[in-house]
């Protein structure tokens, strides 16, 4: 009996919502359809507008340098107009970042609407949220999309450790969690600062703590405050080339750079193991061991099972996924295969309430809505409460029904569905679309309501507002 739901589950819970015809092409081969998406290389986001994080950041760093110069002039009083110029320069950074952000959001939505590998896209979203940065920190606005393109997508079918290393060296993450300026209390930089002006630069724990808590071991993963502090010392020097001051402005700014002058010297003890000081390699060594830890395997398995199976992940599935993660040293392809083969994933359709992102994307896919560039691509996510790349904290967006099914949130969805219905009523027929998008989970109640709707627009609204379409 449960087998009749497999196509719908594959398209909705593993995918991003069915496009017309998708359920039919999945047919009885739901697991094969998913496995086939994992072969070959993950596609890149193709869009002429997109630029590398280094290019964006180099421009922003240059503007910040100009800003510093203007601030100095303001302070010296040499140029009476310097203060106004400084404000203008500050706005320029936003003028660099905002179009970059909107281009990323547009390209991401276009990919989601058109992709034939929606499972791969959902996995990308999953990891992007696991390694979350949030654009409500200004510096990240122009870089969040590039983190996903440069660190997540190339590794989504690879080894977990490679994704981890790439993410933790990406400028977006280093800036978001403040590590670019973290310096060892006994580093060359700190010693010279003390001589020069009595200042005492030192470590910032933010990145080290969140790597342990959110990216690898998980909060119960057995680390102590001392581990956090020492790991932060290990990571001192993980920084970015270029900078606001001309003195350290290098010709190739905006890229990951290990700065030996910031690094805390010495062998360090993290989680009971000594790591000799080999500069950058010290941090790489800790990250490799974290990626191989059973706690990490369990933490990742729990999150995957929660995302793809149910809010309360079944223990059996978590254990099997974790075991495969450990056995293959974090081979993600192997891990996804175990996930696909988990019987728990296929028994209960509609066990997850769609996040606003899922709801918007599945609507775009189901109705084949065109994606306009610019703010229009962002607006629905903003309206429904999940502005792209802005989870507000390094923990990322939450992943349980309770987090998304508030009264006001539901009403916004329904109101948006109504606006969409009115806009596309001329070219979409809900009576035809309903079975194509919902397949075996379409209830007779919803079918009847759509059939009896007062208008084509209202029929679409009812389809999008139906309980079956609200869940995945």
């Amino acid at each position: 009996m449960p087998e009749r739901f497999t196509a719908v589950i594959a398209a909705n819970r593993f995918g991003l919502g069915a496009r017309p015809g998708e359920l039919q092409s999945i047919g009885a081969g739901a697991r094969e359809w998913l496995r086939a998406q994992l072969s070959g290389r993950a596609p890149e986001l193709a869009d002429a507008q997109l630029r590398s994080s280094a290019a964006t950041l180099a421009r922003a760093l240059q503007l910040r340098r100009e800003l510093q110069d203007l601030k100095r002039e303001t302070a010296s009083g040499a140029d009476p107009a310097a203060s106004a110029k400084a404000v203008a320069a500050l706005q320029k950074v936003a003028q660099v970042y905002r179009p970059v952000y909107l281009a990323e959001v547009t390209a991401r939505l276009r990919q989601a609407v058109s992709t034939e590998q929606p499972f791969l896209e959902r996995l990308t979203y999953f990891w992007s949220n696991h390694f979350a940065v949030s654009v409500d920190k200004n510096l990240v606005l122009g870089l969040a999309g590039s983190l996903e393109r440069e660190a997540i997508r190339p590794n989504v079918l690879g080894q977990f450790v490679d994704m981890l290393l790439t993410v933790e060296q990406h400028p977006a993450m280093l800036l978001y969690l403040d590590n670019h300026v973290s310096s060892g209390p006994h580093s060359a930089f700190a010693r010279s600062a003390a001589r020069r002006n009595g200042r005492r630069p030192g470590i910032n724990e933010n990145l080290a703590r969140e790597i342990l808590e959110l990216h690898t071991l998980g909060v119960g993963g057995g680390y102590t405050q001392a581990d956090v502090t020492t790991f932060a010392e290990v990571l001192t020097g993980w920084s970015i080339s270029g900078g606001a001051s001309a003195r350290i402005f290098r010709p190739d700014p905006g890229k990951f750079m290990f700065r030996p002058g910031l690094h805390e010297p010495g062998t360090k003890l993290v989680l009971g193991k000594h790591y000799p000081d080999r500069g950058l390699e010290q941090g790489v060594g800790v990250l490799r061991d974290l990626a191989a830890s059973p706690a990490t395997a369990h933490f990742i398995a729990t999150k995957l099972a929660r995302h793809f199976i149910a809010d309360e992940p079944p223990a059996g599935a978590v254990a099997r996924i974790a075991a495969e993660f450990l056995r293959t040293q974090g081979n993600l392809l192997a891990v996804y295969r175990v996930l696909i083969d988990s019987p728990e994933a296929w028994t209960r359709p509609l066990s997850k309430f769609k996040s606003p992102n899922d709801y918007v994307v599945s609507t775009f896919r189901g109705l084949q809505l065109p994606v306009a560039a610019g703010h229009a691509a962002l607006a629905p996510f903003e309206l429904l409460g999940q502005r792209t790349y802005s989870p507000g904290s390094p923990a990322g967006w939450p992943d349980r029904s309770d987090d998304w099914d508030g009264a006001s949130a539901l009403l916004k969805r329904v109101e948006w569905a109504d606006a969409v219905g009115q806009r596309v009523a001329g070219r979409c027929d809900a009576t035809i679309l309903a079975p194509q998008l919902l397949g075996e989970v379409l209830t007779s109640m919803t079918r009847t309501a759509i059939g009896h709707a007062a208008s084509a627009a209202q029929a679409l609204t009812l389809l999008l507002a139906s309980p079956e379409f609200m869940r995945r």
């Binding site: 606005l141 209390p185 724990e205 948006w416």
Partner: protein, 420 residues
């Protein structure tokens, strides 16, 4: 086709929507404790209590805070005077006015029972009221509201979350709802009725939709609808970070005006909760000016607006500001502070017996710091919360111990927080 009116829609689904508008009870008829209003502000990200309420009289404070140390009251850019030990951050001008008017209580060296340093587990403990993270799936405020329901009457929605979704502190069995400003056109009544019919077999969605419509109705009819350009304000909130380096001073205006509008209504909710964020000041925290000052200033301005918008209801109101934990006593190497333990909390409003700083001050000497780095907690935050719930919302001690804060017997409610 019969054109439904909003109100008919509501009564037609009264079982699901509670009795927000259909209840015969009004505040005029309610006993005094039911007139009590409470606003709970969750400060996510771990507020630096030593910057918000600086112990400038402690000799160890300035050396720990170095270039970020606030100056005593009376000096240039100095703090606002509280007592011989403490000053308020200079950005908290409204809070200081409240203090002078004896409408602000400051608590210091407080912490929840949580002793690790994860934001997310810390917020879970702060909101659930449990001792350990993830031990309870409901929030202490919701469980307190459940105790206030009149037995034998239709459950009344006493709680409101300002935001699209309900935060953990307000989740649970007691009916609550959420509200946020909309930029979308309202659905026509007939479509709404059909969607409601479609949810007949789905109790969760049915209840949520009825709630939302009821709140929208209240907003449209009352003060909330007249609160100015909500849409533009909401929009401003979402865009404020794109261009501006600091949060706009009016970032909370729309939300506090909405809260006041709902709280002023007869038979409206008694308790409102909203989130604030941006308190995780790891780098370039600033001193009298800077990042934290801008955030504090925006919140201070929002609270001033709340008082204005509440009008006469302010005198029945207590506003609680609480955060998951504090930050390190010393500044870190990037002119910020890392995750710590003890911090400050605030209770303000016309109902508050204010003008005092309540702190069993542990000192900041090296040997006094928790684990050698954080302000040591000497007051359990639950003592504050239990005191407010007992004296203000009149939650019985039995209910407090049994359901609102299980395993909290050692944390005795603080007394004399609320005017009698």
């Amino acid at each position: 086709m019969n054109r439904w009116k909003r109100r008919e829609f509501l009564t037609g689904t009264a079982a699901a929507c509670g009795a927000l508008l259909t209840s015969g009870l009004t505040f005029a008829q309610l006993p005094k404790e039911r007139a009590a209003r409470m606003v709970c502000v969750i400060m996510r990200g771990a507020l630096d209590g030593l910057a918000a309420v600086a112990p400038v009289g402690d000799p160890d404070y300035a050396p720990l805070r170095r270039e970020l140390a606030l100056r005593p009251a009376g000096s240039p850019q100095g703090g606002l005077p509280l007592d011989r030990l403490f000053v308020l951050h200079p950005a908290l001008g409204f809070l200081h006015d409240c203090f002078t008017a004896r409408e602000l209580l400051v608590f210091h060296a407080v912490a929840s029972p949580y002793r690790e340093r994860s934001h997310f587990d810390g917020q879970d403990v702060l909101e659930s009221g449990a001792i350990h993270p993830h031990a309870l799936q409901t929030g202490w405020l919701n469980r307190a509201l459940a105790c206030l329901q009149e037995p034998g009457t239709a459950p009344r929605e006493l709680g409101l979350a300002l935001g699209q979704n309900v935060p953990l502190v307000m989740r649970g069995a007691a009916p609550v709802t959420s509200w946020s400003p909309s930029r979308l056109a309202m659905l026509d009544e007939e479509t709404l009725q059909r969607i409601s019919d479609l949810y007949a077999a789905d109790p969760v969605l049915a209840a949520r939709l009825a709630d939302a419509v009821a709140m929208g109705d209240v907003a449209a009819m009352g003060d909330v609808g007249a609160m100015g350009d909500v849409a533009a304000a909401g929009d401003g909130m979402s865009h404020s970070t794109l261009a501006a380096p600091h949060p706009k001073a009016d970032r909370y205006d729309a939300i506090v005006r909405a809260a006041a509008g709902f709280l002023r209504r007869e038979a409206g909710p008694n308790v409102a909760v909203f989130d604030t964020s941006g308190w995780d000041t790891h780098a370039n925290e600033g001193d009298a000016q800077g990042q934290l000052a801008a955030r504090l200033g925006a919140l201070d301005s929002g609270l001033r607006t709340l008082k204005e918008a509440l009008g006469p209801v302010w005198s029945d109101t207590a506003v609680l500001l609480a955060t998951e934990f504090g930050r390190t006593a010393a500044i870190n190497g990037t002119r910020g502070t890392d995750h710590g333990t003890g911090t400050a909390a605030f209770l303000l409003g016309g109902a508050v017996r204010g003008g005092r700083v309540l702190a069993d001050w542990p000192g900041l000497a090296n040997g006094s710091l928790y684990q050698g780095r954080d302000l040591a907690p000497t007051t359990d935050l639950r003592c504050v919360l239990k005191g407010v719930l007992t004296e203000h919302l009149r939650v019985s001690s039995a209910a407090l111990e049994r359901s609102v804060f299980p395993d909290s017997r050692a944390a005795k409610p603080l007394r004399d927080l609320i005017r009698t």
